[in-house]
Each structure stands twice: as structure tokens, then as C-alpha cells.
Amino acid sequence: MTRPVEPALGALRDQLLRMGSLAEAILEKSLQSLWRRDLALAREVKIDDLEIDRLDIAVDDMVLRILATQAPVADDLRNVIAGKMIASDIERIGDLARNIAKSAERLAARASIETPPKLRTLADEAQRILRRALDAFAESDPNRASAVLDDDDQVDADEDAVIRTAIQEIASHPEFTAQEVDFILVAKNLERVADHATNIAEDVILATQARNVKHASKLAV
């Protein structure tokens, strides 16, 4: 027997999976536009982000509707609440991808300098974390989600490294300040992407195991 809440939960889930895939796609696109200094690609990203925003609004509506009409409890309730939080995180990732695309536009307009290798590493890490978080959500697997949480530290370290290098470059080559600044911005955005991806993993743990592991590092101090 299908419970009345199940079709709604299923639709919510599908929506979130769609959002997640879209976010991954536009993150990849924005990074490609950055590596290749491709203006056209960068502009596409902005349009794609609008789609994510639309999906986010649809999710808001779905969540309200389920809460009002189904009064879900236990795991159903946690899934719905977590779903809303995941949608918010994915929407922010979309915005961050758009920021990266803006940086790409600016870099394309200026003299081309070599992209710091550490930045590429950072980008790969961020993308990997996002993919693994979304996989954990797709599988409703708290173990995979937990694994994601450990990677966040590495990302922070790499971000610091990129920023330090960029600052040094600004000091030694002030004529490339603008580009270095954009590199810094991209690094920060990628760090934020990883952060939001981690949030998604935490939401998965809350939904499946009813454990709230948010802000663990800050609260532990």
C-alpha cells in the first residue's frame, strides 16, 4: 500500500536530484570557462543558474505543501526538512558557480597569465566533494556522507595555499593584481562550494540517522 505522503516525497527527491545534477554541471562549466578563458561558456553559466533558482522555488512550494497536508513524522519529517536545507545549499552552489564564471569573464578580458596549479587541485577537490555528497544523498547512505565530512579540512588548507601564493604574486608582479585577485575570489568560492557540499552530507546524516553533526568543528572547541 502506498502511503499518501510517498508520491510527494518522491517528487521532492527527484527535484533535488535534478538540482544536484544541474549544480554539478554548471560548476564544471564555470570551471571550464575559467581554464579556457571562454567568455561564451561563462555567459551560459549565468543562464543555467536561473534554472537552479527556479527549481529552488519549486522545492520551497513542495515542502510547504507536504508539511501542511501530510503532517509527516519521524523519518518522513526529517527527509522533508533536510530536503529543504539541501535545496538551499545547492542553490548557493549555483550562485557560487556563477561568481566563478564572472571571474572567468574578467580574466578573459585581461592579459592571460598562468592559472596556479593549486587552484586546479582545489577545483578538483571541490568537485569531488560535491559529487560524493550528492551520491550520498542519492543513495541515502550516511556512511558515504560521513566520509565526505573528513575531506573538508584539506580543502581549507588548499584554499589558504592558493591565497598565500596569490598574495606573493601580487607583491612581486603588481601589474597582474587584477588577475590574482580573481584567482583569490575563485579559491574562496571553491572553498564555499566544498562547504555547502559538506552541509549536504550533514543533512543526509540528519535525515537518515537523526544525528545533527553540524558545526562540529566550531562547537568542539
Partner: protein, 254 residues
Amino acid sequence: MRFLTKITSRGVNVFYAEKQALFDVNLDIPKNQVTALIGPSGCGKSTFLRCINRMNDVIVGCRVEGKLTLDGADIYADDVDVVALRARVGMVFQKPNPFPKSIYENVAYGPRIHGLASTRADLDEIVIRSLERAGLFGEVKDRLHDAGTSLSGGQQQRLCIARAIAVSPDLILMDEPCSALDPIATARIEELIAELRESFTIVIVTHSMQQAARVSQTTAFFHLGHVVECGDTAQIFTDPHEKRTRDYITGRFG
């Protein structure tokens, strides 16, 4: 969170002739809280409720084993006066059942037979206070001598609650008190339950999980005569420990 216990149940088994209705029930009902008993039809929650005020005594062939205590004293001891017990443990039924007497007489009957008022003035005071606490006085103060049965369903149920609290019980048992009422009357009763919690311990059997979630602090889930899980209401409804509990409250069965 520590709380005082009003009722303890240890190894309680209840039989209706050859059929067993409750199996090894171990439960603590906390004092001055609302405890909800939930579960599908026929799971034994009403049976358990009726053990507490020994209403099961009137059912032929009903046998209760195990230990059930009220404030530490065994309810089923040989020397227990059932009449006195029922004065300490009030009950409100699913279908409102006021006596076919006046509103005043309905509330006054209990205090009268238990000798709680020595003068007419005392009795008046008890009646008025009980009706006020039940949130009914304002609506009936001009017609206290009208028949109790002339009130609406929700008012009748509040009259039954006033009747129960007029004898100053410690404990009020409610067997699906709102199932025959409309949503507004139900909301009023739930509001009343929240107010009464200050002075009474309340045990409520309910079919509505939303109601259990709204009014109670502790919830016990019964299934096929067993207590599957008992704990903090918010805990049960956000993260129940037992799979059966989770399946029931999310509607996967029942």
C-alpha cells in the same frame, strides 16, 4: 530529565476469559504530565487504561495479573476499596455520557456521594469551581438546572470533565475523549488538557497521532497487547527507536 512517577506497571497481563489482551506491560506514568497511549485498534491501550481505575472489574471473565501501583500502593491489593480508588482516578469516556440530570446535579453528584461538601454553599462552590476549570461555567451559568443532555457534544464532554474533576482526583484517564467531537470542540478540549496538567496527571488514549503529539509529553505505543516503545513525545515523533513504532506513526501499517 527526572520526574516523579504516578503509576507504575510491572508485568501486567490481562485476560478476557481465555484470550490474552495485554502481555507483560511495563510502563511508568509520570506525575503531572500528559501521557498518550497510541496504537492501532484492538492493541490493548483502552484495556490498560481501564485497569488503572479497575473498570475492568465489571467485565465478566476479565483477569488482571501483575503489579499496578498508584503512588506506590498496589491497586489490585485485596484491601483496596474500589469506590475510593475511583474517586482518586477520574475517567472521561469516548462518547460524552452526562447523567440525565441537571448540569448542576451532574457535577454535584460525585462530591455528594463522597461527602466532600458539608453545606449547600460548599457544594455550590465545588460545582462552580469545577465548571470554571473545565471552561464551561461561562456558557452555562444561567442555566445550571437545565438538563445536562441539552448541551452540545463538546459542551457535554466538558461537563463530563467537570464532573470528573469535582471529586478532586489525582489522576484523570481519558479514553479517546475527542473522537466524537468536531475540530473546534477538540481544540478546546486539548487546550483544557494543557491547563489541567498543572494539577492533575493525565493519561489519554487517542487514535490521532497528531493529537498525541500536540498534547502529551510522554507517549507509549501499544501493538497487539505489547508496549513496543515508551518515551518522550518529541523523541518518538522525530526519531523513534523501534521500527514498529516508526512504521505505525508514518502510516506504513495500522
